[in-house]
Assembly symmetry: C2
Homo-oligomer: 436 residues x 2
């Protein structure tokens, strides 16, 4: 990193701060106008965006990047339209800024309000997907925050163009283009530099792999959103409806196995294991899920080949094996599940305390008292009764847009939408009152 | 620090975590019963508390501690009664735990709630005042949080006894005494150790000097409340009512000059300086306030002796002098104020951006538009129109009890009461719903 680049980052932060002040005072209409201008510009400049993206792709292929990585950074007309649509959706959401959270008149006549305000300057470090540039810029713009964007080097040309389109759109609406700053260098040292700028950046958002999230959590000197790691359990209670339990477990594991709210471990009460496990095992194997089972679960359903469990079984069927200790507490992000038999609700909850990551935890039972104990006592961002952990999602919960799913307990927990990237202030109006 | 002490701290943290789970599931009545038992025990054991406190005081005097420090740690019957009263007041406050923050039924029938829950384990590092032991233990107990207390070494015996009384009272109510852990050593290395325990402590609260707050802000690996430093401005606009302005400035500066929401700098519009400054200067000098003025303010009211400003003047009157550059942006915590003349509302707000600490900022004006601009654009925990910055206070704002005044923008801003030491979780109840 040269002195110049570091100085540039400081300059960008200063410009972002100045722009954040103007943005915080801007009207809802002008911020929405900027978002709609952005949506239009993305569609108008679609060909140019795709052309620049092709340059990034060519360079990535030349550098030997794998197909699954280049696929994520590829833009086509549909994906550009998707980015434009995201900007329009965010424009249509209610404005979080200025919301009155509380209002009272004190005995001395002072009028006290607590008002939602932008946080200030948000930093974002992200990896290969260029749509993050638009998503995050749009969310920040809507919530009155300035943002400093630091994208991955593979999609550098694409991100730089997208950031430029954002800047032009903001200025078209009469707002400060400096509100969206793009770090114009792929020098990795600048990431470290950014994480030190606690006076310049109010909140850091990492978007990408678990490694990126961990690195930011470890190294950031400012508050950072920690999330993205979900070791998620579903506990099938002795009083579960077996059919429901199979459907819920299957959905939680297979509906989208690569995401943080997907199931990792099934905990099964011993009293229902003989009924439930074979039916679950059949459904899971049919869906291609490998199962890593504790001794008791294995004695009911496996290992593969030792007991026939249904028509789905065959040479191509996924394996059922004995779980290794490290399988419990692991986030698989793939079609693998750990399975354990427990003797009680308490034992299930103790397992979750020991192995869970505080993300998404579910119980399946028809026993209302057991359900309410689980919902009250399990300490996680979201707890579920008789439904799939996959519902821990900003879109599903009606937040309209999602920044991340937080496993922090301070500030925001679970899905973070617009209001979760705001702060508040106390506004007090008087007529000469003084304190006695 | 010995290995044993460090191991002990870890053990205490583990015990606190276990107790926090039981406390989170405890009823409102049982937590209130513990608080009332504590209030009774403090009064019953008053003589013993004062006797132990005398031992601390004797040791402190022997060690050559100054009177103003020993005064702060002294307990007498009134102060013990005050601690008991604080516990009763906190028992009478509404329970923050279990509050439903949001409730909706999704189109698929899922019932989604957002419920307030305790944070978990709170760490507190404090200095000489033993009442902090009771205050914080009571606030944590009420909000379902376990707490690890690390008091100053001067009041060690007193704090240890108070913590023991808390423990007994909690157990009397059938709750886990381990919910309040007292660090039973005055080894300073344990403070550093505590600040590293980010997996064991969810939030760190420093209570004491600005140095302590800064040290915790710098060194804590977990989230910490930053606050306590207030560089507070009052801007007297050209359209101010001069009488009101004098009363407000005087109150903000003198009603309790040693606290964070007291006034530090008066900004005066040039158009009202000739009317306002001499009246303010007389009132301030009568109240014993030293004024450090910029060139233009000095040309109207001083320096001392060069122009008579009223009967209050004399050899004993506080000085009016030319301000040094470092007087702006300084938190005086005493009867000293900086004074500067500005040419516009914008210049006043720029001064606040440059020198303010985001704590408490006020405007005095009869011009509603100017007031609303100031309230909207000044970025501080609390902003005031035509009233004193001294009102930035949990008690005044009706929070019932105050942990601290935060100048953070994440999680909680301004006065922090019970709800500000809580988190929330999403609770989802279904009947077999799965995600499409």
């Amino acid at each position: 990193m040269t002195m110049t680049e570091s100085a540039t980052l400081k300059d960008q932060a200063r410009a972002a701060r100045a722009a954040s002040r103007r943005l915080a005072a801007a009207t809802t209409d002008s911020r929405n106008a900027a978002l709609l201008a952005l949506a239009d510009a993305l569609q108008e400049r679609q060909a140019e965006i795709i052309e620049v993206n092709q340059q990034d792709l060519a360079a990535a292929e030349e550098a030997g990047m794998g197909l699954h990585l280049t696929e994520r950074m590829t833009l086509n007309p549909e994906r550009v339209a998707g980015m434009a649509e995201a900007a329009r959706v965010i424009a249509a959401l209610p404005d979080p800024v200025g919301e009155v959270l509380e209002q009272k008149t004190l005995a001395n006549g002072l009028k006290v309000e607590r008002i939602r305000v932008p946080l200030g300057v948000i930093g974002v470090i992200y990896e290969s997907r260029p749509n993050v540039t638009i998503d995050i810029a749009a969310l920040c713009l809507k919530s009155g925050n300035a943002v400093i964007l630091r994208g991955g080097k593979e999609a550098f040309r694409t991100n730089a163009l997208l950031a430029e389109i954002v800047r032009v759109s903001i200025e078209q609406a009469g707002l400060p283009g400096g509100a969206v700053q793009f770090v114009n260098s792929t020098d990795r040292a600048l990431v470290g530099e950014m994480l030190q700028m606690k006076d310049d950046i109010d909140l850091m958002i990492p978007r990408g792999s678990a490694e990126l999230v961990h690195m930011v959590a470890e190294d950031a000197t400012m508050p950072a959103i920690t999330g993205g790691v979900g070791v998620c359990h579903t506990y099938v209670d002795s009083a579960a409806d077996v059919g429901k339990a199979v459907d819920i477990v299957l959905n939680a594991k297979t509906q989208r196995p690569t995401v943080c709210n997907a199931l990792d471990t099934v905990l099964v009460h011993a009293g229902i294991a003989v009924d439930f496990l074979p039916r679950m095992a059949k459904a899971m194997r049919d869906a291609g899920v490998e199962m890593r089972c504790d001794r008791r679960a294995l004695s009911v359903i496996g290992p593969t080949g030792s007991q026939p469990i249904g028509e789905g079984q065959g040479s191509a069927a996924p394996r059922i094996t004995a779980a290794a200790p490290e399988d419990f507490g692991q986030e698989f992000l793939s079609l693998v599940a750990a399975v354990r038999v427990v003797d009680s609700l308490d034992e299930a909850m103790e397992h979750i305390v020991e192995y869970g990551s505080g993300h998404s935890e579910a119980i399946v039972t028809e026993d209302k008292a057991a359900a309410e104990r689980f919902l009250a006592e399990v300490d996680a961002a979201a707890v579920f009764h008789n439904t799939s952990t996959r519902f821990n999602d900003g879109g599903e919960f009606g937040l309209g847009a999602e920044v991340a799913i937080s496993t922090n307990k301070l500030h925001a927990r679970g899905p973070m939408g617009l209001r979760e990237i705001t702060s508040y202030k106390w506004v007090v109006r008087g007529d000469g009152q003084v304190r006695e």
